[in-house]
């Protein structure tokens, strides 16, 4: 996949990870008593502790993932093809390459013509010898 598409996918993945983490935190959040006089009793203290630890783990993983993605996005941006060239520089480079291409075509045509001439000389030489 080209770097530009990789950058777009990484950006989408970063935001997707963030949204997924929010959803998981919401689902795993331990219940909180609405009224101090009505404590939460349907879950035990150990379960609440486990849920809190799970939420902490989700947070840590998400932070690590987003930090890594951001760093990778920075690297991808720095290595985008032609990132250091302006549009005018690119057009100038294309023009120069076009001239070079024409010269290379001419050189190849000349070499082929030389080879054909040599072939005819060889054939003539063989014809005279026989």
């Amino acid at each position: 996949m080209d770097r530009v598409s990789q950058l777009q996918d990484l950006l989408d993945k970063t935001v997707q990870d963030f949204a997924t983490a929010l959803l998981e935190i919401q689902n795993n959040a331990p219940p909180v008593a609405v009224d101090p006089s009505i404590p939460v009793t349907f879950v035990s203290a150990e379960q609440i502790q486990a849920q809190s630890e799970a939420v902490q783990a989700i947070v840590q993983n998400t932070i690590r993932s987003i930090t890594t993605s951001t760093h990778q996005m920075g690297l991808l941006i720095d290595s985008l093809p032609g990132i250091d060239l302006s549009q005018q520089d690119q057009f100038a480079r294309l023009k120069a390459l076009d001239e070079e291409n024409k010269a290379a075509d001419q050189a190849l045509e000349d070499a082929v013509a030389e080879a054909n001439l040599l072939m005819r000389q060889l054939q003539a030489g063989i014809g005279k010898s026989t």
């Binding site: 950006l11 720095d78 985008l80 480079r93 070499a111």
Partner: protein, 267 residues
């Protein structure tokens, strides 16, 4: 089938019906088409007549094939394909346009967070990504403490994402030009290599040919009968001279074969 926008489709089906002028494509008409194609003067008139006939046919006339034939003359003229549509058109119930240029954010009604005109992609992209991270952090704060600001912050993050994607999409022509430069450089390098190899081989072949010529010139003048190799032991000495001459010829022929093979591999 593409129609003018605003025209109602005749039948709502999962797949569109074939166009009514398909009945014109008989074997006899198709056989006459090459002769028609040679007459270029009638091409434009036929196309305009065809467009009108197609519009009339799709408007729901009963006997459309007869009307198409009657409206402009001989049937083969309608076998010329219609002109490509330009601008807006409707297909499978949806409106499209032939203009595939990337629309600006303002045209799409999205606030733009970078300056107009030519931009430097690297700093703009990095700034936008940093803004996105800051806004994600602020979003968390709002979710925890100021939930009434949830909607505007969510919209801002959405607009930021669209801005970043838009800048990346605007970068694609730049990427395509860079790729074109790389492809052209590779192409030029290959051509230069091929020309160089061919020139070197020609120089080598010329050298060997001249060597073979010199050997032939320095050989004694031998008649045709003497050139025939006699395998009997009495003629062993004479046969060695003839063998030398034929070996020079063989070298010539070998040079020719090698040159032909090299030329084929290069071309």
């Amino acid at each position: 089938m593409a129609t003018e926008p605003g025209h109602a489709t005749e039948v709502t089906t999962a797949y569109p019906l074939p166009p009514k002028y398909f009945s014109l494509y008989t074997d006899a008409n198709v056989a006459e088409f090459p002769e028609y194609q040679r007459d270029r003067a009638e091409t434009d008139k036929a196309q305009d007549a065809f467009s009108k006939a197609v519009t009339a046919a799709t408007a729901g006339l009963e006997d459309s094939s007869k009307n198409i034939s009657a409206s402009a003359g001989s049937a083969p003229k309608y076998l010329h394909p219609p002109r490509p549509i330009e601008g807006a058109y409707s297909m499978f119930g949806a409106d499209h346009t032939t203009d595939s240029k990337l629309k600006t954010l303002r045209e799409l009604g999205i606030p733009q967070f970078f300056p107009d005109g030519p931009i430097e992609y690297k700093p703009v992209l990095k700034n936008l990504i940093q803004s996105l991270l800051a806004d994600l952090h602020k979003y968390l704060e709002i979710l925890g403490t100021r939930t009434e600001e949830f909607e505007p912050q969510k919209d801002r993050i959405w607009h930021l994402l669209q801005n970043i994607h838009h800048v990346i999409n605007e970068y694609r022509p730049h990427q395509a030009r860079d790729m074109l430069c790389l492809v052209m450089e590779e192409d030029i390098r290959k051509k230069q290599n091929m020309a160089k190899l061919l020139q070197e081989f020609c120089a080598q072949t010329r050298e060997e040919m001249q060597q073979a010529q010199r050997e032939l010139i320095s050989e004694p003048d031998i008649s045709r009968e003497e050139m025939e190799v006699d395998k009997s032991p009495d003629h062993a000495t004479d046969s060695s001279d003839a063998t030398q001459v034929s070996s020079s010829l063989e070298r010539y022929k070998q040079l020719q074969r090698r040159l032909a093979e090299k030329a084929k591999s290069v071309i």
